[in-house]
């Protein structure tokens, strides 16, 4: 049975008529064309599909779209504001914090949510916060540096 689901997507109100059990990942990618949200494992273990829901990092590959009704979803495509990269995005560029780039959107969104809660993290806290996001290329060192740096920039009032 299809339903109308209304939510905010990348800071705009939106709605779609869909099977409410359809997974958010496929809705974002195939209905909205927001392909920055990646499929990696399908069971919430790798973090490539991470999006922000009401500022929390959530795995979209296991979440029915009905769960986001009335909430605010932000994907990697919605992180730029007025043509300006989010400090975490900029820090990933500055620190060369990616190789193949496939895990990058999930890494960035996880880091954004993490810094939202802990604006002045230690390196160990960053490591704990990012622990469940997988990167096979081994960009980890640069990712930690980038997040540390982004935290400082954000604390300084952007």
């Amino acid at each position: 049975m299809e339903q109308t689901i209304r939510f905010r997507l990348n800071n705009r109100d939106t709605e779609l008529v869909t099977d409410p059990n359809q997974l958010l990942l496929w809705v974002l990618r195939n209905h909205f064309g927001l392909t920055g949200t990646k499929f990696g494992c399908g069971i919430g273990f790798c973090g490539a599909c991470t999006v922000l829901i009401d500022n929390e990092a959530v795995r979209s590959c296991t979440l029915p779209v009905s769960e986001v009704a009335g909430k605010s979803v932000v994907t990697i495509e919605g992180l730029e504001t007025e043509g300006k990269l989010h400090p975490v995005q900029q820090a990933f560029i500055d620190h060369d914090a990616m190789q193949c780039g496939y895990c990058t959107p999930g890494m960035i969104l996880t880091a954004v949510a993490f810094l939202g809660k802990n604006p002045t993290p230690t390196r160990d806290e960053i490591i704990t916060g990012m622990e469940d996001n997988l990167c096979r290329c081994g960009a980890h060192m640069h990712i930690i540096d980038a997040i540390e740096d982004a935290g400082k920039v954000m604390k300084g009032g952007k």
């Binding site: 193949c100 496939y102 997988l134």
Partner: protein, 717 residues
């Protein structure tokens, strides 16, 4: 499987893998330059069909447009190794144009010259020189054109940033763009390229960040699974539960009942398709399927016993003197057997492909390390002509050797043909594990001997089943022999599933076996393991890397086990020399190993992009933590037990040691491989560090707590 029926059709195709005329048409005006291959590559490792076409088709070319934009075409692909940046740097330097003027086109079989595949750390060392030679020739051709136009001799002209100027009268100048406009020029090169003097380079040798970073942090970078075409269907394919299972029956009525789902079947090949990805995921589990099983009686627990009973194809790789006779004369003889498990590649992007037919013309967008290999496969499997098959490779979400296999592209194309619509196949993680071409498990047996001074006098090395890369003795041993024992399926089948190249194929294991054996001998001789290596090496580059690593680490000599937990290993891979020193902490009560620090030094000749090369080294060391500590595929018969990241543990943030990477300054030497070498010696260095810390010796990776505990308990006994 269809028969190979394509051999006769190649005559139409020029060196670039396409008709010359169509190449020119695609690019429009401007200078077109073809060049010839400069030398033979590692042909022996290639499948027959690629050997057949390689020598004729291995070319690369570039294009200079009317606006001065330089387009560099390469059959290589970008999977995170950064060649989209480093190849552009080389092109810009050789042609002498601003880096931002260089655009890269990668992995498109219609536009790019034939390439056998992106693997073996060959892009910089093999494709690079050929591309640079072409760029140098292009510059010479353009300079001649400028000479004619300006009425100034060539020797009086200078090129800077794509502008050719009369050095005596700087007001007389002409740009590449002006020269190229409206003209077309073709030239074959037969001059063997040489490495240019690095002192003339503006970009090469300087650090540049990933040029694709912006697209990757904004989600704009497109991978195969991100593409969409009107009317496109998602597909899921019915898979057997294990390798060796044969489909007996399949009832698809449940799947067919789902609105908007189409079921297609060709023998055992059954797929469900829909415009909705969720619906195909739902439909595939509605198929009621039954199988007969004829599986091999082998599991990860019985594997090595099974292997040791086999009959193999034997090949002596290197031999000098008589190690058997030499060992008899020695004070100490060492005989050990080393084991290595199957490993999965687990790129975070699974194998993905989109296929579309337009009439007879097939286009496949695929995540593959071998766009031309997939093209050949499509020609073979679908009975098409090569001119009618185009493979385009967007960004790859990691490869590591696993995406040398391209079956998802064949599947998508078959389904596009069966349905008449564009079809997207994105393997699930379960499919990715099941159909992965695992790093093959294997055995190494070494018999070696030292004299009373600690000099290695005999070395007999036998590698079974997993590959010979890095198996040669790097030490100075007068009587030494290296023998490979590979699978002969007609006599004794071993691997129950697909196997293939994993980053630095089997060099990790060969280096682990060799460097552990070296460490065992050093300890028995009562000699510091660094000193033992240096006294047994004559290779100056290897010695220099070891000395540098020791210096950077702050290594203090001591014979093992010293209780400190410091281990050394070295080796060569892809033309590059590597030395690594690891420091570990071992919890004796649990066997848990924590890697605290890794210092890695490599000599890779001229380093094109130091920042990019260091990142590759760090990536190698980080990826190596997995094969060193946790990764091994568990299976029983043809059933793969590890099917996702819940049980197959790959490196995480908290595992990171302090990683310090150094590249030797060798600007005068030809560039070598950088994508793989630094991964080879981490396992060995960590194993030797565990011994140094605890006295426990490990003969199999990964060093799981259970294995380490068992080894520690053996020491206590």
């Amino acid at each position: 499987m269809k028969k190979r029926e394509n051999t006769a059709r190649e005559t139409n195709v020029t060196a670039g893998g396409m008709k010359r005329r169509s190449f020119v048409r695609i690019l429009g005006g401007g200078i077109v330059l073809f060049f010839q291959p400069w030398g033979a590559l590692d042909l022996l490792a290639l499948p027959a069909e690629q050997q057949r076409t390689l020598t004729k088709d291995y070319n690369a070319f570039l294009h200079i447009a009317e606006d001065g934009t330089v387009t560099c075409f390469t059959g290589k692909i970008e999977m995170g190794q950064g060649i989209i940046t480093s190849l552009a740097m080389m092109m810009a330097d050789e042609l002498n144009v601003p880096l931002e003027k260089v655009k890269m086109v990668l992995g498109d079989t219609d536009l790019c010259p034939y390439d056998m595949g992106t693997w073996g750390s060959l892009t910089t060392r093999a494709f690079g020189p050929a591309m640079r030679a072409a760029a140098a020739e292009a510059r010479a051709v353009l300079t001649e054109m400028a000479s004619a136009k300006l009425g100034v001799s060539v020797s009086q002209l200078e090129v800077r940033d794509g502008i050719i100027t009369d050095v005596r009268n700087p007001s007389k100048s002409v740009s590449y763009a002006e020269l190229a406009k409206g003209k077309k020029l073709e030239k074959y090169l037969d001059v063997k390229p040489t490495v240019e003097d690095y002192k003339k380079f503006t970009y090469v040798g300087t650090s540049y960040k990933h040029s694709d970073a912006y697209d990757k942090v904004t989600g704009k970078a497109k991978y195969a699974g991100d593409l969409k075409l009107p009317g496109m269907l998602f597909a899921r394919i019915l898979r057997p539960p294990s390798h060796g299972a044969k489909l007996v029956s399949a009832d698809v009525t449940g799947a067919e009942k789902i609105e908007g789902v189409q079921v297609v079947r060709d023998g055992d090949f059954i797929a469900v398709l829909s415009e909705s990805r969720d619906k195909v995921d739902l439909a595939i589990i509605q198929v009621i399927d039954q199988y007969s099983f004829d599986e091999m009686q082998i599991s990860d627990k019985t594997l090595f016993d099974y292997m040791n009973k086999g009959i193999y194809r034997t090949n002596v790789i290197a031999s000098s003197g008589d190690p058997e006779a030499a060992a008899v004369k020695c004070d100490k003889v060492f005989e050990n057997e080393y084991h290595d498990p199957y490993l999965a590649h687990t790129a975070i992007e699974t194998h993905s492909a989109l296929a579309r037919f337009e009439g007879d013309k097939l286009t496949v967008w695929a995540s593959t390390q071998t766009p031309f290999g997939l093209q050949d496969g499509l020609v073979r499997e679908l009975g098409l002509t090569r001119e009618n098959v185009r493979v385009i490779t967007p960004f790859l979400g990691g490869g590591f050797g696993g995406k040398a296999a391209y079956n998802q592209g064949i599947e998508a194309a078959k389904l596009a043909k069966m349905t008449g619509k564009p079809v997207m196949v994105v393997w699930t993680r379960d499919e990715e594990f099941f159909y992965d071409t695992f790093h093959p498990a294997g055995i190494v047996k070494i018999k070696s001997a030292i004299d009373s001074k600690g000099l290695i006098k005999a070395w007999d090395y036998n590698v079974y089943l997993s590959g010979t890369r890095g198996s040669e003795t790097i030490y100075n041993v007068p009587d030494a022999k290296t023998t490979s024992h590979s699978e002969d399926r007609s006599k004794y089948r071993v691997h129950p599933f697909g196997t293939g190249a994993w980053r630095a194929p089997n060099n990790n294991f060969n280096t682990f076996a060799r460097e552990t054996q070296i460490d065992i001998m050093a300890a028995a001789a009562g000699i510091d393991p660094l000193e033992f290596r240096l006294m047994n090496l004559t290779d100056e580059k290897m010695k220099a890397c070891l000395k540098t690593a020791a210096e950077k680490f702050g290594y203090v000599a001591g014979k093992g086990p010293s209780g400190r937990g410091i281990g050394i290993a070295c080796g060569t891979d892809a033309g590059t020399w590597v030395a690594e020193i690891a420091e570990v902490k071992v919890t004796r009560s649990t066997g848990k190993v924590r890697i605290m620090r890794v210092v890695a030094v490599q000599d890779m000749g001229l380093c094109v992009n130091p920042q990019g090369a260091r990142i590759q080294m760090e990536g190698c060391v980080t990826m190596a933590l997995g094969y060193t500590l946790t990764e091994e595929v568990r299976f029983d018969g043809g059933d793969i037990h590890d099917r996702n990241f819940d049980t197959y543990d790959i490196p995480r943030f908290s595992w990171l040691p302090k990683i310090e990477c150094y590249i030797m300054d060798r600007k005068d030497q030809a560039p070598q491989g950088g994508g793989e070498p630094a991964i080879i010696a981490v396992g060995a260095a960590v194993g030797n560090a565990i011994f140094d810390g605890t006295g426990a010796r490990l003969f199999m990776m990964p060093f799981t707590p259970a294995r380490v505990l068992e080894a520690i308990n053996k020491v206590k006994e």
